[in-house]
Amino acid sequence: MGKPDETMTTGVVATLLKFVRRCIIAVLSYGPMLGHIAFIMDGNRRYAKVRSMKEGTGHRMGFSALIASLLYCYEMGVKYITVYAFSIDNFKRDPSEVQYLMELMEEKINELLEKRDVINKVKCKINFWGDLDMLTEPVKLAAQKLMASTAGNNGLVFSVCMPYNSTSEIVNAVNELCAERRDIAHKEHLGNCNGHAANNGAHSDISVADLDRHMYSHGCPDPDIVIRTSGEARLSNFLLWQTMFTHLQNPDPLWPEFSLRHLAWAILQYQRVYPYLEQNKKLAKKQL
């Protein structure tokens, strides 16, 4: 087969696949669609091991799978996407692997910084949730730069949890709340000294809503589904506060194998339990 024929065939196949994909998305969109999807990208190392590749290759393929999933989610109209990129527990791994992951994250964040114009054109906002001080300096700076450059966007919200733990997020919220109340208490004290009326901000009990305001996820709705690939059944300290009425799914494929058909299946499963979850959310709201 000559090269022009090959190119034409590839072009036709690509167009056909695109059409099929659009049809699948159109059918899925008839039912209740997701507002927020979260991924625990598990299985990169196993993927590399099974295929006798270098461990790092698994993580790189995982990144490609992430970008593809982001594009599919965007096409489906999912507005919030959150991924568990690096857990605080992952620092316990072999130092060489941690170093590799840090370098990979720095490389990918810098690539995204180079494509800033594209990202801003589609109004994608990128957040980094976690204790950024635990990252190496270059990664931290790159992450802060990317967050700052997309902060004004109001389209797709892509949140990367790194390095993140749900319990650490809760403690961080408590610390911020304490600092806020301390400041209010100081202002009250000064207000009292100057004869101004005091408010009761520092004296009321802390509520769930107060803690919500200081979570990294403040401003994002709770996830509709959390997908953990490679079939593992635990959350591993991910979004424990935010997943009260979230459908937890654990499909068997490893993260680099996660593709449109797995995503479509996940959405179909979610649509089956949607009435139950909505009912529970409404009941919970009524009780507040």
Partner: protein
């Protein structure tokens, strides 16, 4: 998808971002939208009907497997190793939790299997109220809500071993964390007031501090190794976050169709799990 193919796909599809608005509403120019809507709706319904049929078939197969497990015909489930399960938690949908017969039967099964510690959770506190009369008499303030309910279970046949039962509800979840946060904050603010007023020290509470605070407000408790969810969906319904970090979560289906074999299978599958804890 190979790496090169994936990268090529990504390179091809990025223009989607550039030129078009979110394309999730797909319009064919030549057909009226009402007909298109009807076609999409019909396809969607058909897909869900097909999934439901497959689900029914797999449910029937699962029921058969549970029957075989209960009868002891499947060898691998005969000698269950429960050494790794120190704490088991059960999340029940609050509407199903009112079915006291099923709850007691479930507890009896777990006792028979040799589970030593069970934590029952439902968001509305139905289970707490259910076991409240027997708990009030023997509540040990120091150890929280732990209680030996062999008295409750002894009434059922075939249950001889002692089992510790804990009942928690939605108020022990986020609200419990808020109470603990309140405790920490008051300690901090009181310390701030009694110390040097002009020195602004940042609060640096750690996860250990939070865990102690949770224990002080009565929301401490062991982290379950395994959580069984009884309800229509695999959803933890607000189970206390601090106790859910590395817990294996398994969905068991509705409580009304619970099976002894399903519990055995879940415990067996758990015994085969291996956790890295982040490593």
């Amino acid at each position: 998808m190979g790496t090169k193919a994936m990268d090529a796909f990504v390179a091809n599809e990025t223009p989607v971002f550039m030129n078009k608005p979110p394309p999730h509403v797909f319009k064919l120019m030549s057909l009226p939208s009402a007909v298109l809507n009807l076609a999409l709706g019909s396809l969607w319904c058909i897909i869900h009907v097909v999934i439901s049929l497959f689900s029914l078939f797999s449910h029937l197969t699962f029921n058969l497997e549970c029957f075989l497990i209960s009868s002891g015909l499947l060898r691998k489930y005969r000698n269950l190793q429960l050494s790794r399960i120190k704490y088991l938690a059960i999340v029940v949908d609050s509407r199903e939790a009112k079915n006291t017969v099923k709850i007691n039967q479930l507890l009896c099964w777990l006792k028979t299997l040799g589970v030593k510690y069970v934590c029952l959770y439902d968001i509305d506190g139905v289970l707490k109220k259910l076991f409240e009369p027997s708990m009030n008499g023997s509540k040990d303030e120091k150890s929280g809500d732990y209680l030996d309910v062999s008295a409750n279970i002894k009434a059922l046949d075939g249950c001889h071993r002692a089992m510790t039962l804990e009942c928690i509800s939605g108020s022990d979840g986020k609200e419990g964390i808020a109470k603990a946060a309140n405790l920490l904050c008051s300690t901090y603010l009181n310390g701030d007031r009694s110390g040097h007023e002009n020195v602004k020290s940042e609060s640096v509470f750690t996860e250990t501090d939070m865990a102690s605070a949770l224990k002080s407000v009565g929301c401490g408790g062991p982290e379950p190794d395994l959580l069984l969810v009884y309800g229509p969906a695999r959803c933890h319904l607000g189970f206390p976050a601090w106790r859910l970090r590395y817990t294996e979560i398994m969905h068991m289906g509705p409580l009304k169709s619970m099976k002894y074999g399903a519990i055995v299978k879940a415990l067996y599958n758990f015994s085969k799990k291996h956790q890295n804890y982040g490593k």
